[in-house]
């Protein structure tokens, strides 16, 4: 079976991501309010109001991919922030404090909207930035979802959506329209559906698409969600992947193993990682992280549906539910082993993994490891150690070890 050539869609990807960066600068120049948003938050409201949604986390990935997080962090640390904080936050804070901007600039906000469903680092970063730029700040507070708390948490979120709409109207002078919101959510649905279908193609064996591809191609589902461009992009990507299947071209042509990777990728070493796995004929099939945007809104109950969807961000669930989520993905993608990434930058994704590893090995009956490193800051990445850990997993897979 031939190896899949680089996807042609990458050209279009670069173009539309370029349009997003340029769009932020144009919005700034033309007086259209730039609203800082978090990646998993109800951007549909912001889009429906004709505001420009801007994602500082995406800037964090850019800096990390350019292997510059530690450099940006120097300025942040010199000012009084600490190296144990989130790598994205340190990149963003550092960008404001430094003279050089090799990753382009983090566009200053006119309004800051932060949802803490993902973590409580984002609010800290956004609070400081809102103060720096004297931008009105709104926190969408998202308490933990458990069986006992879910009703309260979702009701609370729903009520805050109404507060958010009033806040945005007051801060920007723009009007909110429910019809526009439904149109936006419909577009978001269509892109999310395609995204989900693309991710699910990795369940084919062999698969035309891997987790590493998903990390590279997820930009539009975050930044262009709720607009035609995202739908268009994923339609094209899906068609191209279908062609790959028809031609029998795969990223890992002779798939020997399929793996689950828990959470985010190690941005500065994404190529190294993907080559490492390819050398071992292992396809990393899925991750909860990329599935975070594989969602579906109920257009008949727009605000309720936004509340239910975003308050239930996968990170924001109880220990046991999160184990079940991982297990469900492992089963659906029929993986042979798993890697749990204990990410220095991200407590919500990392604390509890030692116990979860044991549980998952028991329940799935497959081997798995915990990898201790960082998603962005290479000071925490020890290549020899990471390679050793991964080799250990492959040894267990070779031995057909079933726990």
């Amino acid at each position: 079976m031939p190896e899949r050539p680089p996807l042609k869609s990458v050209t279009l990807l670069k173009e539309i991501m370029g349009r997003y960066y340029a769009g932020a600068e144009e919005a700034k120049a033309s007086g259209r309010p730039v609203v800082w948003m978090t990646a998993v938050s109800p951007v549909e409201i912001v889009v429906a109001m004709g505001l420009f949604p801007y994602y500082p986390e995406n800037f964090g990935t850019l800096v990390a991919s350019k292997k510059l997080t530690h450099e940006y962090s120097h300025e942040a640390e010199a000012a009084g922030f600490f190296p144990d904080l989130c790598g994205y936050a340190r990149a963003g804070l550092g960008d404001w404090l430094r003279e050089e901007h090799p990753a382009g600039r983090l566009v200053p906000p006119d309004v800051v909207v932060c949802c803490n469903a993902q973590c409580h680092s984002l609010p800290k970063w956004f609070e400081v930035s809102a103060r720096w730029h004297s931008a009105p700040y709104f926190l969408l507070d998202t308490p933990l979802i458990t069986e006992e708390t879910q009703k309260e948490a979702v009701d609370y979120f729903h009520e805050q959506l109404l507060e958010l709409i009033r806040f945005l109207e007051a801060a920007t002078g723009r009007r909110f329209s429910l019809n526009r919101l439904v149109e936006t959510m419909d577009l978001a649905n269509r892109a999310c559906r395609l995204w989900k279908e693309i991710l699910e193609m990795a369940a084919l064996r062999p698969a035309p698409f891997s987790f590493f591809d998903a990390c590279i191609h997820m930009g539009p589902i975050v930044t262009w969600r709720g607009r035609e461009l995202a739908v268009e992009y994923y339609r094209r990507l899906k068609a191209e992947l279908e062609e790959c299947v028809a031609r029998g071209e795969y990223p890992v042509p002779e798939e020997k193993y399929r793996l689950y990777w828990d959470h985010i990728v190690i941005w500065p070493r994404i190529r190294w990682l993907s080559e490492f796995f390819a050398r071992h004929q292992a396809l990393v099939a899925c991750s909860q992280y990329t599935h975070a945007w594989a969602r579906e809104f109920d257009l008949t109950r727009p605000l309720e549906s936004l509340a239910e969807t975003y308050a239930r961000e996968f990170v924001n669930h109880s220990f046991e539910r999160r184990v079940e989520f991982k297990l469900a993905l492992m089963r659906r993608f029929r993986v042979d082993g798993f890697i749990l990434f204990s990410n220095r930058s991200c407590k919500p994704c990392s604390l509890g993994l030692y116990d979860k590893r044991r549980l998952l090995m028991e329940r799935a009956g497959i081997p798995g490891i915990v990898l201790e490193t960082d998603m962005a800051d290479l000071r925490y990445f020890n290549e020899t150690q990471v390679a050793e850990r991964l080799e250990m997993l492959f040894e267990q897979l070779e031995g057909g070890q079933r726990t």
Partner: protein, 387 residues
Amino acid sequence: MEARVILDLFYDIVKHPWQAARNWKGRTGGLVIGWLPADVPEELIMAAGALPVGILGGEGLLSRADAHLPVWACSFARSSLELGLRGELDFLDGLVMPLTCDTLRLLAGIWEHCLPELRVHPYLIAHQVDRPSAGKLVRAEILRLKRALEKLIGREITGETLKAAIELNRSCKQWLKRFYNWHRLHPEALSGEDLFVLLRAATLLPKEDLLSALSALAGELGLEPGSSPETSGAVGAGKHPVYLSGSVAAPPGIFRLLDEAGLAVAGDDLHHGGRYLVPVGEGSDPIEQLAARQLALPPTGYLNSPQADRPGRLIKEVRRAGARGVIFLHLRFCEPENYDYYQLNQALEREGIPSLRVETDFQGSSLGQIRTRLEAFAEMLGGGIGA
């Protein structure tokens, strides 16, 4: 009994933190409910006829927690879990864990998984308090905790018992505030370490016992029961008044170092200090009163929107307390404080208020080094800088 003898009893309680609760449980057969700082309405637990016990980490080596939490989780979380894993908390009938930061949000689940018999009740915190939605969440959470406690005791918590609990706890906190002032005025008679031992014991003892022990101590010290618990600007001679800022200060020995360096605690915003002492206000609806307290708590690391203006509030509090400098007692890896330090430090610099950041953990690393830095800071304050 002399004051020092009574104080020694308090020290003893803090040294063997769970003994009082074990004794009480043996004597009364009642339920003991643990809670982690901060913001948990103790009064609900009291009204259930149960004993609230503050869990504030522990000293000593971590042998078991390492298997469950990475080294870069803060030592408050790690050492609290260690206590549970070691079986030291086996007398608890439940544990209320406020989900203040990411670490506690995750710790609750790890705790449930490792120690299911300890029955964790995750207590949701509103991370914004300036919009109507926050009030609703806080009230709903208080009621959910009330229901959980009622289920545990098999009867209803009445408004009357809750009112009585609020009154009792208010008296305790008023006394503690008077002692706080006493320390400010007479640091030689009641040291900073003494003060924080009282504050710690306050969350370990049954409140009735606490109240009588505090009145006895007041009698010996010559402290008037009628004296105002409100802070005054005056500070005793011979010591440099400082303001402490952070979440949870550890290890307890840190307060002795402050005393030895010639520093008096004029005020603080610690979760087991000044923040704990915020009383429940007056009112006719006790649930409403508990909610109002929670919404009125001062900003802290996990509650610091630009609207809350934590830096501005810190400056105001430092001035009000008559402190000449600020000492940040930060737990290593405490994320909220590590984000806020920059802004707080900038604000203090603008105002010309000297500050020192001390990073510690429950395992008490490098206290010798901290001692030297505190002494140098005291010397600098003595030079009249920033006075």
